[in-house]
């Protein structure tokens, strides 16, 4: 059976044009960008600075505001721990949300153990933070708000510009994890009042292990206490010899996203809508998780009632997707993001995330519809829950035998 890749929120393939841009920096241009006194160093440095401009250009920033990292896990840690430690004298209160990526949740939890206080906002049922909740959570000692641009499991987009405006008004630093949004939807750090922004190359057709952190330089100038100490690279905020080929790839990938976003976002959204139209036409009891208005063009998270996610993946043949079901994660816990929406755990177990990308074709989508519909029908045929629902039994009222 043909294999189909619909897990682009987990990672994307490297665009061949990106790879071509990188290769010379593995071969002849192998210099250290910090070598100030010979040509090898200058060539590398020039490439790094060009990439900085390419990344900055996607978000309306200046290239001086871009710090290279190893990806979004590092970027989020650098931003959150860096702000907390730099501004601890001003206050020790941080606001974030329960359905952030673990790379935000865990550094915040770590800060709690160091005596910081964290307010964990509950999202609404579509995964968006409510402005009213954020306003209520703000305190005089709040130093940081960290809220993701777009959720990786749902594709739901937060009201970023409103959050930015509120943070400006209150003099609070605003960090956003834009790993999933970068290159997919327009971002403007000025218009949106963003002070810190995290991105990762491998989610936008660049290589793994490289990313960037935008750090505002003016109004206000944001300062970070570094988490990695050493040679003082990246204005002291992130020491370590720069990954020149990776950075070149990150820059090239960002540039391609910027150029192609207007057409690509339309094409991909159309394919996503085609996928949903096909699934909902052929199957009953399916629903979309996430916000239908404020969302990424490429992400479709669907609950297929009465069937379990992993068994669905098994029945789809070689289609790469991801499931909120317990069975697919090492922890045996269903997705905390879907649970965090307050829709009930059973919905999480029955959910599949389809994330489309640059290399997704209409044939992929049509084939996916066919295989998913047949897998769901096969599984409902043997689902006791489906049978009970058909008999009119209210599953929420059944006394289950938990184990």
């Amino acid at each position: 059976m043909r294999s189909i890749y619909l897990d682009n929120n987990a990672t994307t393939p490297v665009d061949p044009r990106v790879l071509d841009a990188m290769l010379p920096y593995f071969r002849e241009h192998f210099g250290n960008a910090a070598s100030r006194n010979h040509r090898y160093g200058w060539v590398a440095e020039e490439a790094v600075e060009k990439a900085r401009e390419q990344v900055a250009g996607v978000i309306g920033a200046s290239s001086k505001e871009i710090i290279w990292t190893s990806g979004s896990t590092e970027g989020n840690n650098t931003a959150i721990l860096g702000v907390a430690r730099m501004y601890a004298d001003k206050g020790r209160h941080i606001i974030t949300c329960r359905i952030e990526h673990k790379a935000v949740i865990d550094p915040c939890k770590f800060l709690e153990s160091e005596g910081f206080e964290v307010t964990w906002l509950e999202p609404d049922r579509s995964g968006r933070v409510r402005m009213e909740d954020l306003r209520q959570a703000m305190r005089d000692d709040t130093i940081l708000v960290s809220l993701m641009f777009a959720n990786n499991e749902l594709g739901t987009i937060n009201p970023i510009a409103e959050i930015g405006a509120l943070c400006k008004e209150r003099g609070v630093i605003f960090h956003t994890d834009a790993t999933q949004a970068f290159g997919k939807v327009p971002i403007d750090v000025e218009a949106m009042g963003i002070d810190l922004l995290t991105l990762s190359a491998h989610k936008m057709y660049g290589p793994k292990g490289v990313g960037a952190l935008y750090v505002r330089r003016k109004k206000p100038r944001v300062r970070l206490q570094p988490i990695i100490h050493g040679g003082g690279h990246e204005r002291g905020m992130r020491s370590g010899t720069l990954n020149v080929p990776g950075i070149v790839g990150c820059g090239a990938a960002a540039e391609l996203c910027r150029k192609e976003m207007p057409t690509e976002s339309v094409r991909i959204a159309r394919l996503r809508d085609r996928l949903w139209a096909g699934l909902s036409e052929h199957l009953t009891d399916v629903s979309i998780n996430g916000n239908l208005e404020h969302r990424l063009p490429n992400t479709l998270n669907v609950s297929f009632l009465y069937v379990e996610g992993e068994s669905m993946m098994m029945g789809m043949g070689d289609i790469a997707v991801s499931s909120g079901s317990a069975c697919t994660s090492a922890s045996l816990e269903p997705s905390y993001v879907l649970k965090g929406l307050g829709l009930g755990d059973d919905l999480a177990h029955s959910s599949i995330r389809f994330s489309l990308g640059r290399f997704t074709t209409q044939e992929d989508i049509d084939e996916t519809i066919k295989r998913v519909v047949s897998a769901v029908n096969h599984l409902r045929e043997m689902s006791p829950l489906y049978e009970m629902a058909q008999q009119g039994i209210d599953l929420s009222k059944v006394q289950w035998q938990r184990h």
């Binding site: 068994s311 045996l332 006791p384």
Partner: protein, 138 residues
Amino acid sequence: MAYSDKIIDHYQNPRNVGSLDGNARNVGTGIVGAPECGDVMKLQIQVDEQDRIVDAKFKTFGCGSAIASSSLATEWVKGRTLDEALQIKNTDIVQELALPPVKIHCSVLAEDAVRAAIADVKQKKEQASPRPAGAAAR
């Protein structure tokens, strides 16, 4: 994680999918698990006068390993007496399907489903036959 061939076979060609009449006196039903835990198994057995299992059916909501475990359990109980069927151990299922450690709970659930179905049919039979005088009500 790759699935064993036997799991794939049971998934693609599940044995004994379906339902028996749960109200019948000679049918026992076991329903174990919960939707919010990610698996629910319904396993039913039909017995003859000598307490031998003549038919078995299952329906399962759960991962491929859960489906395979319950499918296999229905195959194994058929033809056995109730007491023989009680001998089926989850470890036998683990071995037969080559379940990885994270899927052992699927086999436990299948064993529980078999036991629950047996208990159900035994209880029905006890209720139907007149109790000896003085037997304690349970």
